[in-house]
């Protein structure tokens, strides 16, 4: 590496660090608060005051293992189902011309923008009619497919060279094979990105869960956070932040695991 390159790299790191401070500031507060006794949350705490008490409270007042389990199940089922449905749809919308294509695209855009709370009550009624309230099935129901995912995959499939589709058709790849054997390996970075959003949003979703969950048997992770923000009795900031820390930790681990997919760009141009 030449000196120029090194300088540029260092400058880039510096610039990213400046932005990083902004990005991390709330987290610094979160962590600090989580480790500080409730009484000292609003000032006066020093390094010597740090305590695990908040975590103890957070752990005591929720069944984290169960919450993690429910959340992992919901996130996994949701992601799997979205991948299975969105990738084929995205592929067809990107690479096929057929009658009704504009309509399909329009429906996708329409669905993309519907706020969750608009459909919450009708969906609740539907779920309750089929007797699925308070089940994992109810939790995953609205996330079984995702217009967001269809759109995302469509966009990334657009950037794949047409020649690989041609080649695959000559190799007698059917439409299903096209999706799973040709598209999938080539849009791994997009799948990683989508996976992250899918998992994050089902992991953090409180709204729908709070609509269809009844018992705490299937309570997901966000429930563990809200219970410390009691309007009547006041907010227990330390415990809330400790819970928030516990909630986000698995996501960060998951993200670290997904990293490789981002880094590994495929040299798509070899096929021109």
């Amino acid at each position: 590496m030449t000196a120029r390159v090194v300088t540029r790299q260092v400058l880039t790191h510096l610039a990213l660090a400046v932005g990083g401070v902004v990005m991390l500031a709330p987290f610094a507060i979160m962590l600090w608060t989580a480790f500080v006794p409730e009484r000292l949350v609003f000032g006066g705490a020093g390094l010597g005051d740090l305590t695990l008490e908040n975590f103890r409270i957070a752990v005591r007042e929720s069944d984290w293992l169960r919450a993690y389990r429910s959340s992992v199940i919901v996130a996994a089922v949701t992601f799997a189902s979205q991948l299975l449905t969105c990738l084929p749809a995205g592929y067809v919308l990107a690479r096929h011309r057929f009658r009704g294509r504009s309509l399909a695209l329009g429906v996708m855009f329409g669905c993309l923008i519907v706020p969750g709370m608009v459909i919450a009550i009708p969906s609740y009624v539907m779920i309750s009619r089929v007797g699925l309230l308070d089940t994992i099935a109810a939790l995953v129901w609205p996330g079984l497919t995702s217009a967001f995912g269809i759109f995302l995959f469509r966009q990334f499939i657009l950037t794949l060279p047409q020649s690989i589709f041609d080649a695959a058709r000559m190799d007698r790849v059917g439409e299903f094979g096209m999706v799973w054997r040709v598209v999938l390996p080539n849009v791994k970075p997009a799948i990683a990105a989508f996976g992250i959003f899918s998992v994050v949003s089902s992991w953090n979703d409180l709204f729908w869960a709070s609509v269809v969950l009844q018992s705490s048997a299937n309570a997901t992770v966000p429930f563990a956070i809200t219970q410390f923000a009691d309007q009547e009795a006041g907010v227990r900031y330390g415990a809330q932040m400790a819970a928030a820390t516990l909630a986000v930790a698995p996501l960060i681990v998951a993200f670290l695991l997904a990293q490789r997919q981002f880094v590994r760009g495929i040299n798509l141009n070899v096929a021109d």
């Binding site: 096929h96 609205p142 079984l144 657009l158 932040m241």
Partner: protein, 293 residues
């Protein structure tokens, strides 16, 4: 793009996704559309057909006008900043030969975090007088106590919204960047293109579909912003940060005004569809085509 031959089986691939969309989204929305024509009392269970009364009532109200304006302001405050900042960050991270992982994580954290907890932290950052924002930006610009100012509350919400969305856009752009053909960058390098030209003539076109996606999604996120408003300001002070989505929730759920809420839903849908169509029509399709291979 060459004309693809129609494939009978290809349509089948759309079926699972679209059936589910129809059940989970389209059907509920149709219900909402119907409800907009009724005065529906969910508690009493009564519904009177009122034709377009709900529309007249809601659309002419001050709060609706304010929410519309606020939503527009929020859109303008967040989308351009989000896209520019995240593009810069993504390019920065992408150009690093080591340490990129660290920054990827840093910028991703807000996406993963629980907004409820983060809102607390943000409120403390915006805390009047002694908060970090007032102590730094406030000193320079002479403004303070954003969250309790009728002019600055919405920008404060916008800051949080941007903060959350930057991570999303960075992830998208990084995924897009990994698909930019390196040969083209090499060719441009030899053609004497500097970093900016290489970006503008190779990377940007190749990113086209990803940019269109991110643009439309961040726009959508901005137009239907709710959580940030709810946890930061609850629409206040004096409705100065009430957005359409917040109003929708307030009307349709808190105030039990289902008809009014449905009207706002429809307005919101129309608005987002309209903006999306405009975006696609002006730049979207062009950018998309540039990166389509």
């Amino acid at each position: 793009m060459t004309l693809r031959i129609r494939q009978p089986r290809a349509g089948l691939l759309l079926v699972p996704a679209y059936v589910l969309l129809a059940l989970t989204v389209v059907a509920p929305v149709l219900v909402v559309i119907v409800l907009s024509l009724f005065d529906y009392d969910p508690l009493l269970g009564t519904a009177d057909f009122v034709a377009l009364d709900n529309f007249g009532r809601v659309l002419s109200s001050d709060e609706f006008g304010r929410a519309l304006v606020n939503t527009a302001i929020y859109l303008i405050l967040t989308v351009p900043v989000t896209l520019t900042a995240s593009m810069l960050v993504a390019l920065g991270i992408h150009s690093l030969s080591w340490g990129g992982t660290l920054w990827r994580n840093v910028y991703f954290l807000p996406v993963a975090s629980t907004l409820a907890a983060m809102a607390v932290a943000w409120r403390w950052l915006f805390y009047g007088g002694s908060g970090v924002v007032d102590a730094t930006v406030g000193r320079v610009l002479g403004v303070e106590d954003w969250l309790h100012s009728t002019t600055l509350a919405l920008p404060a919400v916008a800051v949080v919204g941007t903060w959350e969305n930057v991570g999303f856009a960075v992830v998208m752009f990084l995924a897009g960047l990994s698909a930019v053909p390196p040969q083209l960058l090499e060719a441009a390098r030899l053609d004497g293109a500097g970093a900016w030209s290489r970006f503008w003539h190779v990377t940007w076109p190749a990113l086209g579909p990803a940019v269109v996606f991110t643009l439309i999604i961040t726009t959508r996120n901005a137009l239907k912003v709710f959580d940030q408003v709810r946890v930061m300001t609850e629409g206040g002070p004096v409705n100065s940060s009430t957005t359409l989505s917040y109003l929708l929730w307030e009307r349709g759920i808190r105030f039990l005004d289902v008809g009014g809420g449905s009207v706002i839903t429809l307005v919101l849908l129309a608005l987002i569809l309209g903006v999306t169509a405009i975006q696609l029509g002006t730049v979207g399709l062009r950018w998309e085509r540039a990166g389509t291979r």
